[in-house]
């Protein structure tokens, strides 16, 4: 009896070890497959999260949000101005469910005093989490955060069930690329380098953009007034389009932080007026977020309302594109951000009361144009501050595989391009016989 019980125990233990052993074996094979096909060699979040988890100093101030955060706030300047250790724990198009996971990770390992959450209007209008039918940008941050039950639960709620395989299994995302030796061999060679294993930021740096440490990643290009463009108009803000999930996540983060004794502030980083004018009713977004902030006892500051005397990104060519500040812009903005949060500048002095008020004080300017392509026609639609299209002409050069032609058209006038054709388009915006803008793009 005793020996049969011992035999059973031995048998069951052996069985248990075999099962666990096989599961570990499966995971190892999976990791090998991930290594061979999952390309994270140029992923900003890989470098950022590595630094985040290996900070020797305590992180006192954390900034969350999208690329508008990590490209506009320089933690080194913040450290100096706040006298504390700061970190940009943001990521491309970071949505608030991902932000809530980062908050918990950071608070678990650090005694955080203050969290700044950047709120870009476009992210508030994303689809409800369970209706996401693509992997999306959350993957680039979820992939790199440490495993936790909260992260697992968030990921389950972060997308539709059909997306679970690609969400949880990285090597599933590239499926048959595993058979493409022209993809796999160079990738494996790139990963079997000292730079990759040591998380060398040089892997994500290029001529135009650099990683400066503590999550700050910024570019050096400049987009001047007159050269901003989009290929389609932005949608105006609608409260109906603002996601309930976004709102719930925001409130959840605020409450979580408050319970942990961490101060929370909400803000919106500067984006080009070219974009906000095209949106048309940006004040609606400011009102909506201000209401949420007031209800939850936190401050919301929109730095798009900054007065020119303190921060004039257009005049100083502080933008590198329609959305993001360049390195010069980030330095200037971080200083203003810190001065405000250090109470060195009163709110009424720094900000306009509304975006509409801000615009009313700007002289007429042509900021750029929307190059609108529909079927086989293009139209050039300038975006101006406080002015109409009167006295504006567009000198256009179109090049495709068959022909190149130059023409001068009025704003909004349709230019035929031919069915299904693609090519290059160059536009000079002329206001009262003076060139005020130049755009080069493709169609």
């Amino acid at each position: 009896m005793e020996s049969s019980r011992k035999d059973n125990l031995k048998k069951n233990t052996g069985l248990f070890i075999r099962i666990v052993g096989f599961i570990i074996f499966l995971i190892i094979i999976g990791k090998i497959l991930d290594f061979c096909v999952y390309d994270d060699t140029e992923l900003y979040t890989r470098i950022m999260t590595h630094e985040l988890y290996n900070m020797k100093k305590n992180i006192d101030v954390v900034c969350l949000g999208s690329s508008h955060c990590y490209r506009s706030l320089d933690p080194k300047i913040m450290d100096k101005e706040f006298g504390m250790c700061s970190f940009d724990a943001a990521s491309p198009m970071q949505e608030l469910d991902a932000a809530s996971v980062i908050v918990r990770d950071v608070l678990r390992n650090n005694d955080v005093k203050h969290i700044y959450i950047e709120l870009f209007y476009s992210i508030s209008e994303k689809v409800p989490y369970k209706q996401r039918n693509e992997l999306g940008f959350n993957a680039v941050i979820f992939d790199k955060l440490k495993p936790s039950l909260y992260k697992f639960k968030t990921m389950l709620m972060a997308t539709s069930v059909e997306n679970y395989p690609v969400e949880f299994i990285k090597c599933r995302r590239t499926t048959t690329k595993i058979l493409d030796k022209n993809y796999v061999i160079p990738l494996v060679k790139k990963k079997l380098t000292k730079e990759y294993f040591e998380y060398d930021p040089e892997m994500i740096n290029n001529d135009n953009e650099q990683y400066h440490g503590k999550g700050f990643f910024c570019g050096t290009r400049t987009r001047t007034v007159g050269s901003f463009f989009y290929n389609s108009h932005k949608k105006s803000i609608s409260e109906d389009a603002i996601s309930q999930d976004w709102k719930n996540s925001l409130i959840e983060i605020i409450e979580f932080c408050k319970n942990k004794g961490v101060e929370v502030s909400l803000y919106s980083a500067p984006v080009s007026d070219f974009q906000l004018i095209d949106v048309g009713n940006y004040d609606k977004y400011i009102e909506y977020v201000s209401t949420i902030a007031a209800k939850n006892g936190v401050e919301y500051t929109d730095f798009n309302l900054c007065k020119k005397e303190y921060f004039d990104p257009l005049k100083n060519n502080y933008f590198e594109d329609e959305d993001h500040l360049n390195i010069n812009g980030a330095e200037a903005f971080t200083k203003v951000f810190c001065d405000y949060n250090n109470h060195k500048i009163p709110k009424e002095e720094l900000f306009y009361s509304s975006y509409k008020n801000k615009l009313s004080e700007i002289e007429f300017d042509v900021l750029g144009a929307v190059i609108n392509k529909e079927k086989n026609e293009i139209s050039i639609e300038p975006v101006t501050v406080n002015g109409s299209w009167d006295n504006i002409l567009c000198e256009v050069e179109i090049k495709d595989s068959e022909e190149s032609r130059k023409l001068t058209v009025k704003p909004g006038e349709k230019i035929k391009t031919g069915d299904g054709k693609t090519g290059d388009i160059s536009v000079n915006l002329i206001y009262k016989d003076t060139e005020v803008g130049h755009i080069e793009t493709t169609y």
Partner: protein
Amino acid sequence: MLFNSMEFLAFFPIVVLAFFIIPKKVRTVWLLLASYYFYMSWNAKYAILIFASTLITYLSGILMESCPDRYKKAVLTGSLLSNLGILAVFKYADFFLSSLSDLLNRAGIIVAERSLGLILPVGISFYTFQALSYSIDVYRKKIPAERNFLKYALFVSFFPQLVAGPIERSENLLTQIQGIDQKSHRELVDIERIIDGLLLMMWGFMQKLVIADRISPVVKHIYGNYTDCGAKEIIIATVLFAFQIYCDFGGYTNIAIGAARVIDIRLMQNFRQPYLAFSVKDFWRRWHISLTNWFRDYLYIPLGGNRKGVFRKELNTLIVFTVSGLWHGASWNFVVWGFMHALLLILNDLWDMYKEKIWGVKQKKKKTIITRIIGAAVTFACVDLAWVFFAAGDIKKAVNIILQQFTSLKGSIIWDAALNHQEKIVLIAAILVLLAVDLMHEMNISVFKLVKKQKLLIRWFLYATLIWGVVIFGVYGSSAGLDQKFIYFQF
């Protein structure tokens, strides 16, 4: 709930783990609840139909045993008519109505097409036949009537084989269900058997997700644009469809058999290397074996089988296979498909019968490799030609596609549009693996047993290759973009 769904991935482990640990006396109830939950995840209200079928056949079984012999036939007839009546209304009513109105219109009597607009309940053809086989077996006194309603209800609704077979017999499945409560926990939790079951399920998933669902868009694309296709593309699509339907249905069956195996229920084999058949007759001993056997035992033999002369035998074959075609779908193209197989079988029979008489060729019991290869190739070609009626959806289109195979000299299009280079490699490799496994099984070498004899690390590597192969190369989830139901669900 599909087998290849996240819901099943959660459902199955829960059902199995609970089954292993709950007290013996509640095992039947647990599996019954799980089976009904599985079925109702499709459409809850149609559970009434399966319940009705269960109740009718259960009561008729008991009645047949207790009533005088002279009433047994009436009871059986009642059971058959009511079950077939349900099947007829839900599956065939619209077909008959539209065929009737079409016929009348052609005869000059103009009538508006009417339809009942009923949705076909999933699995109705399968569970109806399974319940009927029980009724008939009780009538024939092959088995005693089951008195335990819960066990009988589980026999009809057992979730692994409920919606697409195999169509089980009470001697096999009901007997095992009767013994479910007697097994000890130690007997149930037999790790080797569980591994066997899980491996078979993974193999089934490989067939379905890696092969069948990868082929589906190619066939849809080419058959949908057949007028623009050359003969080469249509032949490729037709050959691929043969593998699609084999892997879809065979894959489903393997998942079903594997799932049942995990909980120590043995279901019957439903496919036996069908494309290695050396004749059409042999093909039907290998393809959808449970249905073939059902028709043999409950239609062909009662009609007289081969005991009433050659003419009657061939007539019975014609009737059985035409009905079989109709069983597969309420549409004339399926009837034509069944009819074609009947003709092929009749030709096969006549050839066998008169070979020796006309050419003096003796029937060899053991075939040579050459004759087997030629036989298999010819059989595949005949069966594949018939599959066109299955895949095309209607007779006119099927005929046009067949003609296009033999006449079109158009330049090649587009199977590249449906599959890129790497996808083609995966597909071809998977089909070659499938054929290799089938060939080994044909030579009585069980691949699964062979794998289990290997050293631990080699076994683990092979298991991991199968699992990761399905995970990476399977067509499922958000990347699929296809309707991934099993083909045989429409029956």
